[in-house]
Symmetry: C2
Subunit: 382 residues, 2 copies
Amino acid sequence: MAKKAAPKKTAKRRKPSGKRKIDTGAKIERLARSVAEEAFAKRDPHVDIPIRALSNVSFNEKTRYIEMGDKTQCRNFFNYGQAKRFMQTLLVASKCKDLVDQDKTASIRQIYYLAKHTIKGTNEKTFDDQSDSDPVLEDLEVAVEALREELHIFAAGRGALMGELTFVDSGDTIDATRLGSGGYAIPGIVEPEVIQFNKCKAKFVLHVEKDTVWRRFVEDRFWEQHKCILTHGGGQPPRGVRRLLHRLHNELRLPVYVLLDNDPWGYYIYSVIRQGSINLAFESSRMAIPDARYIGVSAFDYERFGLTDDVKIDLDANDVKRSKQILGYPWFQGKRLWKREIKKLLANGFKMEVEAMCSKSLSFVTEEYVPHKLKHQKEWLD
Amino acid sequence: MAKKAAPKKTAKRRKPSGKRKIDTGAKIERLARSVAEEAFAKRDPHVDIPIRALSNVSFNEKTRYIEMGDKTQCRNFFNYGQAKRFMQTLLVASKCKDLVDQDKTASIRQIYYLAKHTIKGTNEKTFDDQSDSDPVLEDLEVAVEALREELHIFAAGRGALMGELTFVDSGDTIDATRLGSGGYAIPGIVEPEVIQFNKCKAKFVLHVEKDTVWRRFVEDRFWEQHKCILTHGGGQPPRGVRRLLHRLHNELRLPVYVLLDNDPWGYYIYSVIRQGSINLAFESSRMAIPDARYIGVSAFDYERFGLTDDVKIDLDANDVKRSKQILGYPWFQGKRLWKREIKKLLANGFKMEVEAMCSKSLSFVTEEYVPHKLKHQKEWLD
């Protein structure tokens, strides 16, 4: 029954192509050189850090994603309040340069431990806690204009992929139609040096919120029937998943359809996939997918699909508050359908999970709900 | 550079072998038949449910895992306090029977929605909340002596695998040495009907706690150098991961080595992998791995490896409390090394994460720490 295993690859792990590596390394070097030059010239060394705060973030109507403005803040060495942060910035930069040079990657926790030490002749630690090093890492990302992944740093992975795509990951060719019931665990770093797309027969990507919903689609072989790629992000999708969706959309020209729970959290996840987040506004252009489409679950689906009250979960005070906040987001302004949607949720007084579709029948979601949605674009939210 | 994709499989998804399917279905039928016979005989229908509580759980010195005793509780239909739970038990059983017959699986959330409805002629719901259906499902597992997975129910998946193993998952042959940087996402159900082991060149399994640590080992191609299988469980390993480790250990005779943070949580995770948990005592024999070995991190490693205080994280009151609880577990009695270990942790006053090994160097853990541990069995805890 079992097919013979494909021949084991003989090639060693494929090294990232040199190009971008030089870029990121060179960017860090440029930063270091400017600091060193100032020091040798007996000037106060400094680093300019673009400001990562709501005050320096706006929604660009043209690109349709959240962008960072150009306000920066100067971080000086000879400034009592800034000296430590200045030191930390250069220290993290130097550790990232090591990673790039060694062609290794580290988690944000690992970079904290890599950079933590006692400053010679003192009892002072360079970092007391990871909450010290995380923002410094973000400073560095914006200062040298490199994605975290390009600095060879990854966040914890979550999410999986299955479907009509063949790709190369670190030299291994992976046919995502042949991954059994488990699927491909999406790593934290999915940059082109690591992952190259090979053959794609998919017509679209269906991204669902949760692992358990994804398994429903996998078990029903939805990807085969509808020629698509199935992904999930284990809730709010981590950077690796968002970046992979972005690449699938932009490089392979695949529409991205999103299926999330009908609650403020679902709306928020969609908002982040679509126009990026305030925190990570500086990477919107490489993460946000303004053309991603929310195909469900909509507050109107309760009546559309004749669902019973078995699917209802009462909104709590926090749900109501969050819904109103989202209604106020600049990027939902002028979105007639979204306003209607959120108002309908509030009027319903209940939320609905994708899994609640089971109350019709186990495979209702794969056999009727999503096929219906794919045919009726008028029901999508954008 | 990229190798040609393996030929696409032509066979349709492999159906589970009929054997066990009939078993589980038959078990549920047997339960239903006995209830029906009582009803037709005008007796009070009942179901005997083994008791899942500390009072009916003990550590078996011989098998070396936590076992459920044989106390049962009778659930009657003509009993005001039990009638609803009786109805729920049969309802969930009937839904599981449908799943088995249809050869489909459902999440515990999906089974809740599948079984929830309004009882005809009343305003009463069969279930008000998933917290109603989860324990009923566990009742059913013990009542019909079937693993949850055999009832075709899965919990959310977490965890990944990479290394010297080729296996078949739902008819797809997967070579776990060729999964790039991402790896195989371990599904919730890994029973022999779904996953069959094929070729194994591994000499052992190394199970680590977290995704980020696992990626360190994957990136350093530890599995290739040491001929092993690498797994992680995203913290406390979910059932799919535990069951897969159990199968790798028992069917392929692979030793299982566990690398966890040096804190009470790490000890607890090991304890569950090794002798099972109180909650799931009825499935210890198919989940617990009494021969799994804790290779690190040990409280003694601070001195053994000349670590600096950069790796220290102060124990808090809860850590101290948990450590003392664990010290009192029956299965740690008579374990001289474990007592010494936990006392050392308390004496240290600090805990250490696997990732803290980075403070030596990024790959210290893969190049020195674990290789050292593999050579020095005296340092293991068992």
